[in-house]
């Protein structure tokens, strides 16, 4: 099957400064791709392109065979959702937050499905509470549910567990793995945590200074990286 995303000579520049320059990258359907690299390497910028929040300034990006631009239909854009490092919950109840993405699509989350999500995430007792009064872990669980109830074809994750305790990290990793298997969705997971990348990813893409240095299956990336920079990064050393 053709990949869901393809980038060819894709560049992103701000005020004339190129911050991302990808020669070629294909992201397969149903794979979990970890984007790793030091701060400022372009991971989040790449995620913004994949999320259609910004178009590339040069080169080509296609989503399911269609060129990504301002004319990408809404129905295509809605096949992708994202969760960021900060959950950015809305000033409404936990239940309303979980159903928000479906509401945008003119659908309503059935009560029994909402109850199942709340129970699965340990949030049943907080359903009617304002989402702004949740702890960091609870809030991120709500953000994950909000992104997943729409049954996306692609889930983009931008360091969603960076500020969480090990319990919540484990819970979110399990949740993503279960949903990924159930829906067959593609997951692109930005993380600075190489151990997490090793736990969750099928493939790893290593970015450095806006360029793709190495893309390999996770086992190869961590045991026999092709480049010295990737090897150093996998050992936890500072690379730039």
């Amino acid at each position: 099957m053709p990949p869901i995303y393809q980038l060819q000579h894709a560049q992103k520049a701000y005020d004339g400064r190129v911050v991302l320059d990808i020669d070629a990258l294909a992201i397969g359907r149903g794979e979990v791709l970890a984007l790793v690299g030091p701060s400022g390497s372009g991971k989040s910028t790449l995620l913004r392109l994949l999320n259609f929040l910004e178009p590339p300034t040069a080169g080509a990006l296609t989503f399911d065979g269609r060129a990504v631009g301002d004319d990408l239909p809404l129905s295509e854009r809605r096949r992708v959702t994202a969760v960021f490092q900060r959950p950015a919950l809305l000033r409404r109840s936990v239940a309303a937050n979980i159903g928000y993405g479906l509401g945008l699509r003119g659908e309503k989350l059935p009560p029994e499905e909402l109850a199942a999500w709340l129970e699965r995430l340990g949030l049943t007792h907080l359903a009617r509470q304002s989402a702004l009064r949740l702890s960091a872990g609870e809030a991120q669980r709500v953000a994950m549910a909000r992104a997943l109830v729409v049954r996306p074809d692609v889930l983009l994750l931008d360091e969603p567990t960076a500020n969480l305790d090990p319990y919540n990290v484990g819970l979110i990793e399990r949740l993503v793995a279960e949903e990924q298997r159930a829906l067959g969705m593609t997951v692109v997971w930005v993380t600075h945590d190489i151990f997490q990348a090793r736990r969750v990813a099928d493939r790893v893409a290593f970015l450095l200074a806006g360029r793709l240095v190495e893309v390999a299956d996770a086992e190869t990336f961590f045991t026999a990286p092709a480049t010295a920079q990737a090897a150093a990064f996998a050992r936890g050393e500072l690379v730039y």
């Binding site: 809404l74 854009r77 994202a82 900060r86 809305l90 953000a143």
Partner: protein
């Protein structure tokens, strides 16, 4: 102190007796201020939202100082402007609105509009940028995004409406100039207070002041309840 106590007694008496003249003045105050507030919100909210939702405000270096200056516009200057426009020699003199409630509504709308625009756009620009990013990434259309952000900023938007209400219900300069304080036609609480003070009826003037404060308190209490909900 005695005058103050007299004023309190007088205010109570006027309210209990439902003095017809007072009821007429309160009604006119609510009609003029309510209409002006409604117009300012209907015009100002979309303008404030359109500016506040943009990545960059066009000609911000010029536009923002104009809006902020408008927020500090002295009511009497707004009144003078409307007076000149609506006077016989003015461009809209043919409307024959001078010394009518309509002229008062126009001048109060001009006073309230910059407050609604300025505070709405400030409330929207003060939102966490992560909210905008998240709502867009969940597949919102432009209209859904604007609605979501306005709802997120609703406390700030409500503050804009409260500030505009406070600014116009208490102003006297503009309504006096363009309304003329005509009994039964354009007399509102503030102009009645000025009149009674000039007549030396301090107790009655203070009583009217207390009623104005009560009216403002009740309206703001209502706004507060709405924001809590």
């Amino acid at each position: 102190m005695e005058t103050l106590l007299d004023a309190l007694r007088e205010a109570l008496r006027l309210l209990i007796d439902l003095d017809p003249a007072l009821v007429e003045i309160i009604g006119m105050t609510l009609r003029v201020t309510g209409s002006a507030l409604l117009l300012a919100v209907l015009l100002g909210l979309p303008i404030g939202a359109a500016l506040g939702l943009r990545e960059r405000i066009p000609a911000a270096g010029c536009l923002m100082p104009i809006i902020y200056t408008g927020m500090a516009l002295p009511p009497v200057v707004a009144g003078l402007f409307v007076y000149l426009i609506l006077s016989n020699q003015g461009p809209l003199g043919g409307l024959d609105w001078l010394f009518t409630a309509r002229a008062m509504v126009v001048s109060q709308t001009i006073i309230a509009l910059p407050l609604v625009i300025g505070l709405t756009l400030t409330a929207l620009r003060g939102l966490d940028p992560g909210i905008k990013l998240q709502v867009r990434s969940l597949g919102a259309t432009r209209l859904q995004l604007a609605t979501a952000l306005l709802l997120e900023a609703r406390l700030g938007v409500l503050a804009a409406i409260i500030a505009a209400f406070g600014g116009i219900v208490s102003e006297v300069g503009a309504v006096m100039l363009v309304g003329g304080n005509i009994e039964g036609q354009t007399r509102v609480l503030t102009t009645a207070i000025v009149l009674e003070t000039r007549r030396g009826n301090f107790a009655l003037a203070l009583a009217l002041g207390i009623i104005l404060l009560l009216l403002a308190f009740l309206t703001n209490w209502l706004f507060h309840k709405l924001s809590d909900g």
